[in-house]
């Protein structure tokens, strides 16, 4: 019987028989912990294993991205706990200057096609964008992975999601991701791997793949893969990896739990309404909503291409008086690219606040919270109540966030 992409990757990493529903013991190529979860991993490790070394320090990393540099004493202490442990065990740290861990793993060529990678980040499945099996886990799992290099895993079923038609040119990957999320909700892909197919993906840049794969978490899925890619994506990924990009494709006779067809022809800009990511509507239905603040960044929309989309809208325009726009590059590399191609200057002149790389507006504290009654439009992936303060957060693509901050109300670049 043929295998799906996830089944092939898992089979490469286990002696056990791989089929959906079976629990296998799986080897992990890379295991990581963040400044959130990381200190708990250290505490667990020292309590359970003491002076025993980690299984392979060269496959083990810390990535600080949540509260960088630390904005509270607690985070400062926690990060230092990880640093001291890392020095003792010979583990490399991507410290507070680096940016979002999952993105750093891609840029450093650690997350590669066919590999298995885990970390204390529920959006680690973003690595599906480069055909790598990434998975977020809690601190007990990650401690065990540091010690053994292995984990148990229930092989998920796979659903095929076929996107029919081509969205309108005023949309980007985030609009499509939100539209797919609207259609799948948290049920149709729950606990499953997803293979996204359709002509639209032939135009997807790596940043677009990252945007869509990141939101598989909000679909309650395990991981998403996009088998179709074009030469520019291949070249960009190979630039990071330093090796040929050789993703798995599913076998012709692979078995899927379901095939879901979604018609995205002529799709218009989408926005997710508080307080559930899958509560998605057309931006056009929400143009009355006043906006107090915006955020562009996160693992979902923090690449150079994402911020450049916003910069094109902002160029020669100003963020409205009384509105703030916060921009956070995903990584140091992204920051440098924005600097080199002049985008940072455009953003600055428009009145935006630009911070150092990290998780930014999704994490608590890094670039501010919302107060009661405050309305935020964000390129992040979650708008749960209370997550980013006491206000209400809408989720949208970079162009909509930029346009809304210029208008002072929800809108698209066409409304300017």
């Amino acid at each position: 019987m043929g295998k799906t992409i996830i089944e092939k990757i898992i089979q490469d990493h286990t002696q056990d028989e791989v089929s959906p529903g079976r629990i296998v013991w799986m080897d992990l190529d890379v295991r990581t912990a963040r400044d959130f979860g990381g200190p708990n991993v250290v505490k667990n490790f020292e309590r359970e294993y003491g002076e025993i070394p980690v299984e392979n320090p060269r496959k083990t990393f810390f990535t600080f991205d949540l509260c960088v540099p630390a904005c509270s004493l607690k985070y400062a202490e926690n990060q230092q706990v990880c640093r001291l442990f890392a020095r003792k065990k010979g583990i490399r740290i991507f410290d507070v200057d680096s940016g979002i861990g999952s993105h750093v793993l891609i840029e450093e060529g650690l997350a590669r096609a066919r590999r298995t990678v885990v970390g204390t980040d529920s959006h680690m499945n973003i690595l599906g964008a480069v055909s790598c099996f990434g998975q977020g886990m809690g601190d007990v799992d990650i401690t065990f992975a540091f010690k053994t290099g292995k984990t148990w895993f229930e092989v998920p079923e796979t659903v095929k999601v076929v996107i029919e038609g081509i969205p309108s040119s005023s949309t980007g990957a985030k609009d499509l991701a939100l539209f797919i999320l609207k259609n799948l909700g948290t049920k149709k892909a729950a606990l499953k791997a997803v293979e996204f197919t359709g002509d639209v993906f032939r135009r997807f840049a790596l940043s677009d793949r990252i945007t869509l794969c990141s939101m598989v978490t909000e679909m309650a899925g395990i991981i998403g893969f996009i088998p179709e890619f074009d030469a520019s994506v291949e070249k960009q990924i190979e630039g990071f990896m330093g090796v040929p990009y050789e993703p798995y494709a599913a076998d012709g006779d692979a078995v899927y739990a379901d095939t879901i067809r979604i018609n995205a022809a002529g799709l218009v800009p989408q926005v997710s309404v508080p307080f559930l990511p899958h509560k998605v509507e057309d931006v056009a239905c929400l143009t009355e909503i006043p906006i107090d603040t915006g955020f562009i960044g996160s693992c979902t929309n923090g690449r150079t291409e994402d911020i450049a989309r916003a910069a094109r809208v902002l160029k020669g325009r100003k963020v409205k008086d009384g509105v703030s726009l916060k921009i956070v590059p995903a990584t140091r590399r992204v920051y440098r690219e924005l600097l080199e191609n002049g985008i940072l200057e455009n953003l600055f002149m428009s009145g935006a606040i630009i911070s150092n790389p990290g998780c930014g507006g999704c994490a608590e504290g890094h670039i501010g919270l919302t107060g009661s009654g405050e309305t935020q439009v964000s390129t992040g992936n979650r708008n749960f109540e209370g997550k980013q303060g006491k206000g209400r957060t809408y989720l949208a693509g970079p162009e909509v966030v930029a346009a809304s901050c210029i208008l002072g109300r929800m809108g698209t670049p066409e409304d300017l």
Partner: protein, 182 residues
């Protein structure tokens, strides 16, 4: 060996409409403002602290109680604290039609019984389960009994790995017991 059948008083996590709340996420269970806490004993006070209608849960619940929730319980982030906060309160089992993938793993690894019951909604609709009822659940066979209403129903038994880790008292002890963690 850990207990096969456990007994507890249930808390039905219902919303204003009387139905079990679905998609309760980890920020509602354990808010990110308290993620810096690494001592489990301090986490109980924040359990469900961001879930509307249930913010006083930590003061109402007693050790040994069960939590019953709607589908996709524990959606969202990878935080172990969202499991640990219930451990801190002595909650002895969570029953739901389904769980967030990471949440489920975290609970299994802590040796904490998270039990799936796909038909839960039907039992709730037919009023066979109410807050304050006492349930007996056999974790290995999936047989469940409501002592108050004298009714029987079934839940999903634990998978083999879940049972082995539960019997060992958590993933670390499981690993040290000569299984996979050497």
């Amino acid at each position: 060996m850990a207990e096969k059948t456990i007994r507890g008083k249930i808390w039905m996590l219902t919303g204003t409409d009387g139905n079990l709340i679905e998609d309760i996420d980890t920020d509602q269970i354990y808010h990110n403002a308290f993620l810096h806490i690494t001592d489990i004993s301090q986490m109980g006070a924040y359990a469900l602290g961001n879930l509307e209608g249930w913010k006083d849960f930590s003061r109402k619940a007693s050790a040994g109680d069960f939590v019953v929730a709607g589908r996709n319980f524990g959606a969202g982030s990878s935080r172990q604290q969202a499991v640990d906060c219930f451990l801190a309160l002595g909650i002895s089992l969570i029953l739901a039609p389904s769980f967030g993938a990471i949440y489920f793993r975290n609970a299994v690894n802590s040796g904490f019984p998270v039990i799936k019951c796909p038909a839960l909604k039907d039992f709730v609709a037919s009023q066979q389960l109410k807050t304050g009822d006492i349930l007996y659940i056999n974790l290995k066979t999936g047989e469940a009994r409501n002592e108050i209403r004298d009714t029987l129903f079934s839940v999903e038994p634990m998978s083999r790995v879940q049972e082995e880790i539960y019997d060992a008292g958590g993933l670390f002890l499981y690993g040290k017991s000569g299984n996979r963690g050497k």
